[in-house]
């Protein structure tokens, strides 16, 4: 009974802190703009199954992708064991999902085997991070804290897996010593059980309880650290793929505000029938966090800083300042900075700083070729180029700021309908003396 009460308190604290964090994030979302509507559930489900569950984009790097997929699929299986532990903890029963019979055996066996596979993968990740110089883990946005963040998450997952395997091994050893029934199948636990040989049943029970509590408390702590770390992607990435932008990568989002203005300009007649302009016109493009869409912010929370986007960026790989990963890390950091002020003081709150310039420089934004390599690569379907173009929209339409070459190009299109200075009268010069062979 004492165990149940302690467990219930731990669970309540976990859920309480988690709810606080989530509500705080939701309050930040209130200050973002509407994005695309969420429809087409069938297609969204397919994208999620493909990209998240199937790990198809992770596998674009086949070797490391394989180890990540093991970790992900392991989590998917092990979570059923964690649910069982919560039920056990609250009810005081043991291995409560045993009512599932053969299915319980399959779940437990795969969880046990995956614990080892995940542990091995995590060790490989740690060796790569700590001892090998992997270029995509570096960059101006990768501060000391980013690396600590990554190592903390990996260490915690490793401990989670060790405690799980220890728990299973001690469970088998204990039941064997007691002559009790083992519910579920534990292939790795069976191999590890002899570690505890020579211990009395009380000792075995202690170790079982020890690993049980260690494992579940680590889960509770981990769940509450995640939202404050880049590893929030554990929660966010699957929904983020479900909420993917479904349009072709080449497509930019239309600005309907501009359409209204341009239609007025092209056809002044409609100006009289249009409603009076007493609605303040929203800012064009993105300058700060309140100009981004909810999806941009969702993307930023899903980013785990893997750097696959930056590693394929033509600007970044040729030494320019732009790093697509940094754009989303900056958005997340800026919301963390400004969000509380917005919540407290309302949408007009200003701290005289902005995402543009205080975080992201114009030089970064102008270096993008909109080639979409970053968006193609992102394992959780973050779309970087649309946000970069939205920031360019602010620069051009609100500040008339653009590199000289682009200003000339704008002027040419306005004056002579081509990005270069050629007269429309010359548009058919290419047809002069055009002859072809007559093929029999």
């Amino acid at each position: 009974m004492v165990k149940q009460i302690v467990f219930a308190i731990a669970l309540l604290v976990t859920l309480g802190v988690f709810t606080y964090t989530v509500l705080r994030l939701i309050s930040f979302f209130r200050f973002t703009k509407a994005g695309f509507p969420i429809s087409d559930f069938g297609k969204r489900t397919r994208v999620m199954l493909n990209v998240a569950i199937g790990q198809t984009k992770i596998f674009r790097h086949p070797v490391m992708g394989f180890f990540h997929a093991l970790v992900f699929w392991g989590f998917c299986v092990i979570i059923f064991g964690s649910i069982e532990m919560v039920i056990d903890g609250l009810s005081g029963s043991e291995r409560s999902l045993k009512v599932l019979g053969g299915l319980h055996d399959v779940i437990m066996a795969s969880g046990d085997v995956f614990a080892l596979l995940v542990a091995i993968s995590i060790v490989i990740f740690m060796i790569r991070r700590i001892f090998l110089h992997v270029r995509r883990f570096e960059g101006i946005e990768m501060k000391k804290k980013s690396h600590q963040d990554a190592n903390l998450a990996l260490s915690m997952i490793l401990l989670l897996m060790i405690s799980l395997m220890g728990m299973n091994a001690a469970y088998i050893a204990f039941e064997a010593a007691e002559g009790g029934t083992v519910y579920g199948v534990y292939p790795i636990g069976a191999i590890l059980a002899p570690i505890f040989s020579g211990l009395a049943p009380q000792g075995l029970h202690f170790w079982y309880e020890f690993f049980w509590w260690l494992h579940i408390l680590l889960i509770f702590v981990f769940a509450n650290i995640l939202p404050y770390s880049k590893h929030f992607h554990v929660f966010m990435s699957v929904p983020n793929t479900f909420l993917s932008r479904l349009e072709p990568l080449g497509k930019l989002t239309n600005m309907d505000d501009i359409t209204r203005e341009v239609k007025l300009m092209l056809d002044p007649e409609t100006a009289f029938s249009a409603p009076a302009g007493d609605v303040p016109v929203a800012r064009f493009g993105v300058k700060d966090v309140e100009d981004v869409t909810w999806k941009n912010y969702f993307d930023s929370l899903s980013c785990t800083e893997c750097g696959r986007c930056t590693a394929v960026c033509p600007a970044n790989t040729t030494g320019k300042m732009l790093s697509p990963r940094k754009i989303f890390m900056d958005l997340r950091a800026r919301m963390k900075e400004k969000g509380p002020g917005l919540v407290k003081n309302g949408k007009d709150f200003t701290d005289n700083r902005s995402l543009l310039r205080d975080y992201i420089s114009e030089e970064e934004l102008w270096a993008c070729t909109t080639c979409n390599a970053c968006a193609q690569e992102c394992p959780v379907n973050i779309n970087h180029p649309t946000l970069i173009v939205d920031m360019r929209r602010y620069l051009v339409m609100e500040e008339s700021s653009a590199p000289t070459g682009l200003k000339t190009m704008f002027a040419n299109i306005e004056n002579n309908g081509a990005p270069w200075q050629y007269s429309p009268e010359d548009r058919l010069l290419w047809t002069d003396n055009l002859e072809m062979n007559v093929v029999k």
């Binding site: 390599a373 429309p424 047809t431």
Partner: protein
């Protein structure tokens, strides 16, 4: 060999005569003004004529789609161009558009519908592949002497619109020695000119993007690098010049077909 003069049909003239072509051939600014790329427009026009396709160009009525302005952030200018063009196309009752430039293709296909411009948009690579598949265009893989050919994916055909198979299918019928670049298909590496980079100086860095890609082309040891975009062509041709490797030819897919068909 016997030759004939091609009279390129212009939409306004056809309409004055009460005729309506099946396709609008969108030439694009590079296709009309860039000296090197005009040759590609001419090559594709020969193929259109050879196939007896019912088409017309807008000629002097054509104007920029607004793509470079849009990607540089000037949504206002883009929409002014787009709404004007949609009006012109409405007057000519245009239903089908063929483009060469992938940027024009992308904007007509994906972005004009948001402003009320709905068309069946076909990129010339898809169009050519179709006519090769149904036998209207016959290619002989030995005509180019089995030159090693490689292909640079334009971002707005490839990643932008998932067109990877058609150009490869064509090139493999033009040579028995087709090779891929190290980074190809969805992994392809930009030429450096997209997103309006074509019209500005590159930001400071340690290398130019087009040099990086040109070096990859050279590593493939191909005799011809085929492209399907005016900007990619400018960048790679410049890259080859810069590297003093002008023996490696940068040709458009349409030009290669015209060579083989001896049009």
């Amino acid at each position: 060999m016997e030759t004939k003069k091609i009279e390129v049909p212009v939409m306004a003239d056809l309409f004055a005569r009460g005729e309506k072509p099946e396709y609008l051939f969108w030439v694009g600014c590079a296709g009309a003004f860039d000296d090197r790329y005009k040759k590609v427009t001419r090559a594709f026009t020969k193929i259109l004529t050879h196939l007896g396709i019912s088409y017309a160009v807008l000629g002097k009525e054509e104007t920029c789609t607004g793509d470079p302005a849009r990607r540089a952030g000037n949504e206002m200018l883009y929409q002014m161009q787009a709404l004007q063009i949609i009006e012109i196309l409405k007057n000519y009752e245009v239903k089908k558009i063929i483009t060469i430039c992938p940027h024009c293709f992308n904007i007509f296909k994906n972005e004009y519908p948001d402003l009320g411009g709905h068309y069946e948009v076909i990129n010339y690579v898809q169009f050519l592949d179709q006519h090769i598949e149904n036998g209207n265009i016959k290619l002989d893989a030995t005509m180019l002497g089995n030159t090693r050919i490689t292909y640079h994916d334009p971002c707005y055909l490839g990643r932008g619109n998932d067109i990877y198979a058609e150009p490869r299918s064509i090139l493999k019928k033009l040579t028995n020695n087709y090779v891929e670049l190290e980074r190809n298909r969805s992994f392809s590496y930009c030429c450096g000119a997209g997103g309006a980079q074509m019209f500005k100086e590159a930001e400071t860095g340690k290398k130019e993007v087009f040099i990086e890609r040109t070096e990859e082309v050279l590593r493939s040891e191909a005799g011809i690098v085929a492209t399907a975009c005016p900007f990619c062509m400018t960048m790679l041709t410049d890259g080859l010049k810069y590297k003093n490797k002008e023996d490696v030819k940068n040709l458009d897919i349409a030009e290669l077909i015209v060579q083989v068909m001896e049009l």
